[in-house]
Point group: C2
């Protein structure tokens, strides 16, 4: 049975969306999990407790070694896939060949995590010492202080810790979904390849290199990415694309040193004021980016993608309420509709001190980190160039180093721009048979309709997979949407962890 | 001899500006200092080493007690002037009555210091452990590691530490100028009152209260304030006014928690972007504040004030070069001309993290601290109100507390505004006889022309002195202009400390 993009009629959509009763296979996976909750949680907490910031290579190695051991405990012949030099954090790999299988699927997650500023975390919470929370802190959650290993684990609790939801939960889903499947007498319908990357959070700098070096091992038809969050309603999602991403670090310069704001006020320019003015010129109050060419080249959603989005947007009002927002950035535009477009976002901004530690000075420098998400059709390097050209048009002299005295004497407005490695967006058409098989597998594990998202708002370096291996890419996330991913107090719901095993066991037995 | 504002002719100015040879009195004060440098420095370093942030009341008391002891060692019957409650940091007071004196002069400095963020200080420097530097750090200065008490003290060195230049140097100048005068057989020509305040850096919240409670003790014709810095050229200054000041703490709200910038990008508003847009709307790129009424009511400089400013502005070009700036905020406007006008300055701004600790989030809040300097004629409370009205006109709902859920549901743009206590500006006319006497006294200690500044750019709560006591106020600063006052690595030149004794001995013997 073959679908094309155009033959996919309403009847088929209806069929695929039908709620399915739990299968015997799902029941078996669940029973296996119930019998092993203590070991599963113990191993997960130990895993989360290993710091995994990309730059911390000794601990990155500890994570990789821990992963190797996890996989060997599950009977997998796991190995490290190294890059060309020790600058590359290793990926961890294993494969299971299935006689008669026609598809080869790479199940991917990443074991590295976002940088951490521990002082931002709530009192009693340590990014690397996972504890249970009764609920999110912003909704009155407390640390569970009484629990000890062996005690019952409330499925409504959350496990707190860096990477608990982004993305060590993905490793949990894939390895434990597989393990429960085979331990209960099942077997995959596809050749299964496991791949756990160690530098996703710094932009998967060497994923292309690893694919080139280990091309035969990673040869595949499809990658299933376990990363990101389920829908705000709790429904399961299948995501067919991601945005690309790049960060820019800006440093605007004033005088060589901080100055008394009275003695020099109205004389020495304030770099914070000028940076504020520059950033403000980039975006209007209606959420529209004003940088020339920013929206050129982007590929609009197809009609079927728009339909899927409409189906999935019913919870925006509840989301706004939960976030404490009266209206979205662009009133009338839904969350998913906004994913069609590139973004310009301030990750952070800083100059001198504020509040109780503020002093009456004119700061010497002002800094900001910008985050540019790009969508299909927009090249991230071109997008960065457009931002730089905007700065020039606003009268700034753009440099890539601390200004010299000669530059200070020559230019009124000096800004240092540092650009991290970026990557482009990726989208897999909903109409492909393999896309439909993935939807069907996920649908078999839930009585709620599975939501189909043409592209996620977030970013993963997936374009490179299609470019190097020719494999399609589809994402099936398992985390709770309110996990504080990328921020302080990151947390993963226990019931979602449990459920993730069923989802991934089903994916490994996809039709 | 009486001067009026209008009778002060060019010949008199020329006379007053004439370089004077060192007087026998000045020579005696200098010789006394040379003989006592070790004790003077030892006492000063001990004084600077006592933390003096306003909120740290136990240490504020330690400072006051230390001051009492310093004064008693100089034969002064010193006492604490307390406020109504223990919330008031005490002032330290003493007086010396001089038979036949016609003027009573309060010599004022403050012993509290600006808040400190120790992590901003350079490696090896501690705000409360004064050490010598060979030069400012930005010009390659190093910590003097070899020196020990008893070793010669290079007058080109600087003493590093919070309040070394703002304003414990003022205490040094006044007490040691007096002490050297009387120990070398001199005596003041005016009744001398010593007053050292303990909460200037938080806006002299209770100075009015102390003046009311101790009105008889503080009765006076003139206050001479020892605070601030000499001219960038090194010349001595007499300053006849100050700007007023008030701070505003702004907190702009986005969603209740930080959000993944991909998952919520183009949907959840970014409070940093909105705060940036708001602040940017307050000031144009030509340095002009756009808030309605911001420049209403200000009193323009008189002709003689403009002349004095023109004489004093010759070093702007060198100052710009030293600061690493191509041009001032408003090209063509001199430093001192800018002091005629109120300011709107960003002291600091912050949202989430930047640089290496940045993460791809939409921050939940963005904060900024604004500093508003006001000039003669502008009421600080009205000025704050104008800023708030501007926010409202820009579509913000201004609150003074964390937003409630109801407020979040009702208003698109929410901002919390917290306003510290402020105060108004003060100016003493240059033409008064007492003003001329002060200029003559300072001129007697230097061969360079003394510069006359109609108003300083900085702020002190001097308006209240005129209001409560009817006394004129004139400032004679002694610090180096590049002292990093209010910022990290604050430092005071040793030769300026030495010189300050001669200046203040001369002021106490003014004609």
């Amino acid at each position: 049975m073959k679908f094309t993009r155009f033959s996919l009629g309403a009847a088929v959509w209806a069929l695929l969306s039908t709620a399915a009763a739990a299968s015997p296979r799902q029941d078996a996976v669940r029973a296996h999990r119930v019998a092993h909750e203590q070991e599963l949680i113990a191993e997960f907490r130990e895993f989360v407790s290993i710091p995994n910031v990309d730059a911390d290579q000794p601990n990155i190695r500890r994570n990789a070694e821990f992963l190797l051991a996890m996989m060997k405990r599950r009977g997998l012949a796991a190995e490290l896939l190294e890059g060309k030099t020790s600058a590359t954090n290793p990926a961890v790999f294993a494969e299971v060949k299935v006689p008669g299988a026609t598809r080869t699927v790479v199940f991917y997650a990443h074991y590295d995590g976002q940088p951490v500023n521990p002082k931002d975390w709530a009192e009693g919470l340590d990014p690397w010492q996972p504890v249970f929370l009764t609920a999110p802190l912003v909704r009155g959650g407390k640390i569970v202080t009484e629990w000890k290993p062996g005690d019952a684990i409330n499925p409504a609790w959350r496990i707190n810790g860096r990477a608990s939801a982004d993305d060590k939960d993905g490793v949990f889903a894939i390895l434990n979904g597989y393990d429960a499947l085979v331990k209960t007498g099942g077997r995959p319908t596809v050749n299964v390849k496991f791949l756990f990357e160690g530098e996703e959070e710094k932009g998967s700098t060497h994923l292309g290199e690893i694919m080139e070096l280990h091309r035969a091992k990673l040869q595949s038809d499809l990658w299933i990415i376990c990363d990101g969050a389920r829908h705000v309603s709790g429904r399961k999602l299948v995501i067919f694309g991601v945005r690309g991403d790049v960060n820019m670090q800006l440093t605007a310069y004033g005088a060589k040193r901080p100055l008394h704001s009275g003695n020099m006020g109205n004389f020495a320019p304030n770099p914070a004021m000028r940076l504020v003015s520059l950033i403000s010129s980039m975006k209007d109050d209606n959420g529209r980016v004003l940088i020339k060419g920013f929206y050129d080249d982007y590929v609009q959603f197809s009609e079927s993608e728009r339909i899927a989005i409409k189906e999935a947007s019913f919870t925006d009002a509840a989301l706004l309420q939960e976030l404490g927002l009266k209206e979205p950035e662009v009133p009338g535009r839904s969350l998913l509709e906004g994913f069609e477009l590139p973004t310009l976002n301030i990750n952070g901004i800083a100059a001198a001190n504020i509040g109780k530690t503020a002093t009456n000075i004119i700061p010497a420098v002002a800094r900001a980190t910008l985050d540019l998400r790009v969508v299909l059709g927009i090249d991230w390097q071109k997008q960065v160039q457009r931002v730089k050209e905007h700065m020039t048009a606003q009268g700034w002299h753009v440099i890539d180093h601390e200004p010299t005295d000669a530059e200070r004497a020559e230019f009124v407005k000096l800004i240092k721009v540092e650009v991290d490695t970026g990557y482009n967006a990726q989208r897999t058409p909903l109409s492909l048979p393999v896309a439909q098989a993935v939807i069907a597998a996920v649908q078999s594990t839930t009585s709620e309709p599975v939501m189909k998202i043409p592209t996620n708002g977030g970013s993963l370096p997936l374009a490179v997979i299609q470019e190097v291996l020719g494999a399609n890419v589809i994402t099936v996330p398992v985390a709770n949407y309110d996990n504080n991913q990328h921020a302080e107090n990151e947390n993963m719901r226990v019931d979602y962890l449990w459920d993730s095993m069923e989802t991934y066991a089903a994916l490994m037995t996809m039709p």
